[in-house]
């Protein structure tokens, strides 16, 4: 290949490939900026022409509508800003539980598909192909209808044990009345987790120096059980429980898993787990069989082969697509409004309708999802970098 030489024989600098490349990029960028500017100014202009209110002042006005469940205290007398926060926290609640359940289920099913047991492998295949090929919205409707239609009304609720009720209003169960002892217990739990982490690091160091790994299981378990118990006892060992009881139309007291939350969580985690199962299966297959053989030949036990050889290599393949699935789960949770779970989109939509400020409302929704998704992405990318091959070792 002969490259055109610059400044030769009167040829215009426009014939230079590099210059033309730069110009093309600048033109595209200019058009993009122009388009965004046009859209923004056009929107503002049209809102003005139609005398539609703008700005974020509405966030501090009284919302005046109820939401069926909330992580933080909420009443209709609170502001639109707070009700959107309530929605965001509800979205995060279902996302956190959904990611955990989907990951566990997906891993189990993914490993099962590789099982040498014919039945287990086939069942896992049916699970994956069934769940990932039915639209999620339909699955949500199915679970919601199943829960509301099949369960009895509160007056005929299934009583599983004293204070444990299952009805079409949800699953009600006793919950400890929060006292000083519980706070101390929770602090104890945090200290225990930190202690186990430090124990594990010390064990690795000792192993590296002496070749023997000290037993961390017994002291770890002791810390995990002992420290929260000590905290709880120091706080006066509170045992009061808020037990649900039927009053009027419904149960009052205790904690509740609503049908909407249950249906959404079930739908999201099952659907996503079917994709995760395939990712896990792919990750395991990607590690050459020779690695396992070599590890066994070195005399590693089965558990160690998985933990030290298979998993670290499989994870490198698994993490990037797994991140996409987590992001999908979070975004899919916006289907909640179809079955009445008050998530971010649901509460923000009502806010938009009450205030009429669609542009601001939609911007808030987008910004919230973007923030959550970028946080997950950022964490997963960091984790991916952490476990990836490092040169020079």
């Amino acid at each position: 290949m002969t490259e055109p030489k610059k400044g030769r024989s009167g040829a215009s600098f426009l014939n230079d490939v590099r210059v033309r490349g730069i110009i093309a990029q600048i033109v595209v960028l200019g058009l993009f900026v122009g388009l965004i500017g046009y859209l923004v100014s056009n929107t503002i202009h049209n809102l003005e022409v139609r005398q539609i209110a703008t700005g974020l002042g509405f966030l501090s006005r009284e919302a005046g509508f109820d939401v069926s469940e909330s992580v933080i205290p909420y009443s209709p007398a609170d502001t639109f800003g707070r009700v959107i926060l309530v929605g965001l926290l509800n979205t995060l609640k279902v996302a956190v539980f959904g990611v955990l359940i989907a990951t566990v289920l997906g891993t189990v099913v993914g490993v099962s598909r590789l099982s040498s047991n014919w039945l287990v492998a086939r069942l896992a295949t049916v699970y994956v192909e069934g769940l990932r090929n039915i639209p999620l919205l339909l699955q949500l409707f199915f679970w919601y209808a199943l829960i509301t239609v099949s369960l009895p009304n509160p007056r005929q609720a299934h009583k599983l044990a004293e204070g444990w009720f299952l009805s079409n209003r949800g699953f009600k169960f006793p919950w400890p009345v929060w006292e000083h002892g519980h706070t101390l217990g929770a602090i104890g739990l945090l200290v225990a987790v930190a202690a186990i982490y430090l124990l594990g690091r010390r064990a690795s160091r000792v192993q590296a120096e002496t070749g023997r790994r000290p037993n961390v299981l017994i002291p770890g378990l002791a810390a995990l059980i002992g420290l929260p118990t000590i905290g709880w006892l120091l706080g006066g060992a509170p045992t009061a429980f808020d037990v649900p009881a039927l009053t009027g139309f419904n149960f009052s007291g205790g904690a509740l898993v609503s049908p909407e939350f249950a249906a959404l969580l079930l739908g999201l985690s099952l659907y996503t787990s079917s994709f995760i199962a395939e990712i896990v299966r792919g990750g395991i297959i990607a590690v050459p069989w020779g690695q396992t053989e070599a590890a066994v030949a070195l005399g590693l036990r089965r558990g160690m082969v998985v933990r030290l050889i298979l998993l670290p290599q499989a994870l490198r393949v698994v993490i990037p697509p797994l991140t996409s699935q987590y992001l999908n789960l979070v975004k899919n949770s916006s289907l909640a409004v179809a079955i009445g779970y008050p998530d971010l989109v649901g509460t923000a939509n009502t806010t938009i309708n009450q205030t009429g400020q669609a542009v601001e409302g939609v911007a808030i929704i987008m910004l919230a999802y973007l923030t959550v998704s970028l946080t997950i992405s950022g964490f997963m990318n960091w984790y991916n970098g952490y476990i990836s091959l490092r040169g020079g070792r």
Binding site: G34, G37, V149, F249, N250
Partner: protein
């Protein structure tokens, strides 16, 4: 490089300058297009719903047909756009529809900050509660602690919360987006009560629950819901046309002009009010920027207010609604058309 900057500036200038292209009277746009685009409900029997042949029927639909009759002399020149409760205001604001005639409550916020102009109510409604008889509740005041199903994106949500707060009652609201899903949740027993406008509850009770006799609408009406068509801010002529189309229908009932007798009345009328309404005495059409036969066409092709009420929601329909507040002003109702003169 300089050349590029000049080009970029030019592009940007054009982009920004083009913003003033919007505006222009709605009537001209409608005439040029050859049809009125009308936002209606996705399917609420009696108000706006397609019948078995796919033709839109209902009192909200009739407002749109009447406007088409007034503008084109042909009530068929309407394109109906079904809208959800959430889409409706944005659809009108953004110019996707010319009229929003979709059982929409006239409120101060919508009339001002949302950039809408409400013409005049075509149905005076109020919010009520639908419950199963099994529940044994006789009054909405007994609903303390009840779980209530409600559709999202409506004034209903706020009225519900207000009513329970005002009466110191505990509320569990289950808010669902689509009407069909709210109905399903109520039928499944997810909620003790279903709240909506009383006319809508009548429609749901008649059409969407397995056995209508097992359900009752409680006597309390907890809010004022003047349901009115609306148009965008900033086009007074179009606002006038829609408003006076409705008044023509109400006046028609007041003066006893129906779709059946309008031809005879037009020939024999002596009442100057009727003559002006039907264009026998010219002037009114010109004032609106329409054909002089606008009023005649509305009543001939769509009918007066009583006709559309009886055909769509009245006692002989599945909804079985009485005239009540929607009777003429001289019969104890609120339907009152200003003089056509």
């Amino acid at each position: 490089m300089k050349r590029f900057l000049l080009a970029a500036t030019a592009v940007a200038t054009v982009s920004f300058a083009a913003t003033s292209a919007f505006a222009g009277p709605t009537l001209d746009a409608v005439k040029k297009r050859g049809e009125v685009i009308c936002g209606v409900h996705t399917g609420l029997a009696g108000f706006s719903a397609p019948d078995e042949k796919g033709n839109w029927k209902g009192i909200d639909v009739d407002v749109c047909r009447a406007v088409a009759a007034a503008v084109f002399g042909d009530d068929k020149k309407v394109k109906f756009v079904p809208l959800s409760a959430q889409q409706r205001l944005t659809a009108l604001q953004s110019g996707e529809v010319d009229i929003l005639s979709r059982n929409t409550t006239w409120t101060l916020t919508r009339d001002t900050a949302n950039g809408l102009n409400f013409t005049t109510p075509n149905y005076y409604d109020g919010q009520g509660f639908l419950v199963t008889k099994k529940l044994g509740v006789k009054s909405a005041k007994e609903l303390n602690g009840a779980t209530v199903c409600v559709q999202t994106g409506t004034t209903t949500e706020q009225n519900l919360a207000d009513y329970f707060r005002a009466n110191n009652m505990k509320l569990n609201a289950v808010t669902i987006e689509k009407l069909e899903e709210v109905n399903a949740a109520y039928v499944a027993g997810r909620c003790d009560a279903y709240t909506s406008d009383a006319s809508q509850l009548a429609s749901i009770r008649a059409n969407d629950v397995p056995n209508p006799d097992d359900h009752i609408i409680l006597p309390e009406i907890i809010s004022k819901e003047p349901l009115a068509p609306s148009v965008r801010h900033g086009d007074d002529q179009w606002f006038d046309i829609v408003k006076w189309t409705q008044y023509a229908m109400i006046s028609g009932e007041e003066y006893g002009v129906t779709s059946a007798n309008v031809d005879d009345v037009a020939k024999t009328a002596t009442d100057p009010n009727v003559k002006r309404l039907l264009g026998v005495t010219p002037g009114m059409g010109a004032a609106l920027g329409l054909d002089e036969k606008w009023g005649y066409n509305i009543i001939k092709q769509v009918g007066n207010y009583a006709e559309t009420f009886e055909a769509n929601v009245g006692p002989k329909t599945p909804l079985k609604l009485e005239r009540g507040l929607n009777a003429q002003w001289n019969k104890g109702g609120l339907m009152y058309a200003p003089p056509v003169r």
